[in-house]
């Protein structure tokens, strides 16, 4: 597994797709685009955790506080940095491979820097949460901003929207988290129940709908109990039941998508290791499913 730092380096060197965009307005625009049915627009967001030196990634050269005195060891001289053509900001020299995409401000790469929120938290971890759930100041909120946007604008009871968003991660990303689960999985190949296809189907209980009166398999075990009164429901009862049911539909979707081996297109080469594999999975799912928003995660 490689770190966020290595990922950044690799990503820049290879010019691979995927750039962490963490500006709410832009995200909103992207989410809107993702929803219009006719649009083929998709969004991948990569949350790079850890501590990137943002000031040295996009350098605020026009800010007189950026100088040798305030950054005795971290200061990057003007002549070493890359000019971004806006009379204010420069980029770290190692971002050079992205300059083609940037096209001096007219290309397809946007860099949004010095973005913050009012009353900035000094807790790195609270801050991470705020960026993902979009409500600065509420560190305990467990509902992500994409989740909120999607459930407010789409009919989530319609099964065809069950796979509109997903995270390629070993846990659900906060940005997509909420009361009704969007799928998450780490590797499509492993996203299956044990045993041959017959046994896996039996375990899942896929045949439950085919006229058999008793609930079957895992889907039967995660149905809500019709005799249970609503005041007997506990905090996580619905979450667990919804996750069980979502698992059923997601398993089929992901298995169908990964049935044939995926050949990366356009000569893309993915690095070995956990994160490279997730990027490749994301590319495959974007091409083979109707997913609109995919989230990935990399540690720092």
């Amino acid at each position: 597994m490689f770190s966020r730092r290595e990922f950044l380096r690799m990503n820049l060197a290879a010019g691979a797709a995927g750039f962490a965009v963490s500006h709410p307005f832009l995200l909103n625009r992207q989410v809107m685009a993702a929803q219009s049915g006719s649009s083929a627009k998709r969004m991948i967001f990569i949350f790079q955790r850890g501590g990137n030196d943002g000031i040295n990634t996009i350098i605020p050269r026009g800010d007189k506080e950026y100088n040798q005195r305030t950054r005795p060891t971290l200061h990057i001289p003007e002549t070493d940095a890359l000019d971004l053509g806006n009379g204010f900001a420069q980029a770290h020299p190692r971002l050079e491979p992205m300059m083609d995409m940037y096209g001096n401000g007219t290309g397809s790469l946007a860099m949004l820097h010095r973005i913050g929120y009012a009353k900035q938290s000094r807790s790195h971890f609270d801050s991470q949460n705020y960026w993902e759930h979009g409500v600065p100041g509420d560190a305990g909120l467990k509902e992500g901003m994409f989740f909120r946007q999607l459930v407010e604008t789409l009919d989530m009871s319609d099964p065809k929207n069950g796979f509109v968003a997903a995270s390629v991660s070993s846990s659900q990303l906060l940005a997509l988290r909420g009361e009704s689960p969007f799928p998450s999985f780490k590797a499509a190949k492993r996203f299956r129940l044990q045993g041959n296809e017959n046994l896996a189907n039996k375990t899942l209980g896929r045949e439950a709908t085919k006229g058999k009166p008793v609930p079957r398999g895992v889907l039967g075990l995660y149905e809500s109990d019709p005799v249970m009164m609503s005041d007997q429901k506990k905090l996580y009862t619905e979450l667990v039941q919804n996750t069980g049911q979502a698992l059923g539909s997601t398993l089929k979707k992901v298995q169908d998508a990964s049935r044939c081996a995926y050949e990366p297109a356009n000569g893309a080469s993915y690095p070995n290791g956990d994160f490279g594999q997730k990027l490749q999975e994301a590319a495959m799912l974007i091409k083979r499913t109707d997913v609109k928003i995919l989230g990935l995660n990399i540690g720092g």
């Binding site: 070993s170 846990s171 799928p183 998450s184 045993g195 017959n198 039996k202």
Partner: protein, 205 residues
């Protein structure tokens, strides 16, 4: 939150604030046993973290642990032992541990363990359990786990799923387990134990 207020009030109620026994008394309400601590609504309402899930599965089966497979299974469930990035410790909130990936890994683990499919993650013996607890039918096994794990709270609807499972072949067609013999019968019963451990109630503690 009401309980929190009571605990804070108890903390401040003594001449020198912070008398631990008074605070615990307020929380546990040992005499009347009426407070929120005793409310059935909050019992078995917490979702097990991966390490809790793995440990409880082992305990349920009386499995022997050998090898290093368990930490890998924990990682598969998103909990890397001693590797958490954030300094605040692994969360205890259910939202953090319940998603399709995590649930699937839990189900796979139950299947593997019940059918002795991953010796690095532990092994157990259904025969020993049946002999030791004097169990002979699938119903006996279900009753045993209902008592041991669920305080006899499993509904008939859940038990029907287990029985349907044990009396179906791999393709899902009716195939009574009683008609099977030897290894085939044992395998079917082990599969059923895997399904019992997969039920939604076992996600809670």
């Amino acid at each position: 939150m009401a309980l929190m207020k009571e605990a804070i009030a108890a903390w401040n109620a003594t001449p020198r604030p912070g008398h631990i026994r008074s605070v615990l008394h307020a929380i546990l309400d040992p005499v009347n046993q009426q407070g929120p601590f005793w409310n059935a609504h909050y019992q078995m309402a917490k979702i097990k973290t991966p390490i809790e899930f793995i440990n409880s599965t082992h305990r349920a089966l009386g499995a022997q642990i050998s090898g290093k497979g368990l930490t890998e299974r924990m990682s598969d469930m998103g909990m890397e032992l001693f590797q958490r990035d954030d300094p605040d410790g692994y969360p205890e909130l259910g939202y953090e541990w319940m998603d399709t990936h995590n649930l699937l890994e839990r189900l796979r683990f139950c299947q593997d363990l019940a059918m002795n499919g991953d010796f690095a993650a532990g092994e157990w013996s259904l025969q020993d359990l049946m002999k030791g607890q004097d169990l002979s039918t699938p119903e006996d096994i279900i009753e045993y786990f209902d008592q041991a794990l669920f305080q006899e709270q499993l509904t008939e609807r859940r038990k029907a799923v287990f029985l349907d499972f044990v009396n179906s072949d791999d393709a899902g067609y009716m195939d009574p387990v009683e008609a099977l013999k030897g290894r085939a019968k044992q395998r079917r019963l082990e599969q059923m134990v895997g399904i019992i451990l997969s039920t939604q109630e076992f996600q809670f503690q």
